[in-house]
Amino acid sequence: MSPLHLSFYSAFVLSRLGLAFHRTHLVSALLCLESIMLSMFVGLTIWPIENQTPSFTIVPIIILTFSACEASTGLAILVASTRTHSSDHLHNLNLLQC
């Protein structure tokens, strides 16, 4: 694997691990989601460069668009949680706890 492919691939793996193991805040998990999207964007932009296919450049732009939608929805959930529980701590999200 070339070192640059290794770079965004390991960034993706690190962000996924960070999302799986986030500890206290909901916004930390949302930041890890954003970094997943960032590493995917860089990887998808390298593809048309290396294969010299200009039409594939559309795909990272579309991904960026839908990631903006996802980030705004996540932040709306964060605001709703802060309004209800006065913080975004994850132990507040316990409606399904037995």
């Binding site: 932040l75 964060l78 913080s87």
Partner: protein
């Protein structure tokens, strides 16, 4: 020049490591800014300046600003910092997991050096990224309309999510 691009790739990974092991969301946002600046510089070095500028404006200027405001809303007044041994151990454990995976996957032994760039030559001197994104409006107009519809829908989704229990009244956050 090749080593400069590799250095930017390494800064990208270090920024993402900072996001994944953040002691507090304030420092996570710093890591994300570092990672996106390094990623943008990486894309610039490879030649796709248009996509790099789109990343800068939409991602840093749009989404991260909104994230920073939300972090200011929702995070705690006395955050932990990087110097705590638990945070350093967390970051070290994440890096160790990735390194073990690399070694077991046989990736580290076989490195191919080199960087491919984007400047096209010939009669029609149009840059790869400009022409590619411009195709979104001509050949990809269906996807363009779907993306616009999705953004409009997200606006109403967000409006409904933050409406709160008392339907439509403004509450102090």
């Amino acid at each position: 020049m090749t080593y400069f691009v590799f250095f930017l790739g390494a800064c990208f990974v270090i920024g993402i490591l900072g996001v994944a092991s953040n002691p507090s969301p304030y420092y996570g946002v710093v890591g994300l800014v570092l990672a996106s600046v390094a990623g943008c510089g990486w894309l610039l070095s490879l030649g796709v300046s248009f996509v790099a500028l789109v990343l800068f404006m939409v991602y840093l200027g749009g989404m991260l600003v909104v994230f920073v405001y939300s972090v200011a809303l929702a995070a705690e007044p006395f955050p932990e910092a990087w110097g705590d041994w638990r945070v350093a151990g967390y970051a070290g454990a994440l890096a160790a997991v990735v390194l073990v995976g690399l070694v077991l996957g046989g990736v580290v032994g076989s490195w191919g050096f080199g960087v491919v760039t984007v400047d096209s030559v010939g009669m029609f001197v149009v840059r790869l990224d400009f022409s590619g994104v411009a195709m979104l409006y001509s050949r990809g107009v269906g996807m363009f309309l779907v993306a616009g519809w999705g953004l409009l829908l997200t606006l109403f989704v967000v409006l409904e999510l933050v409406r709160g229990l008392s339907r439509g009244a403004i509450r102090a956050v």
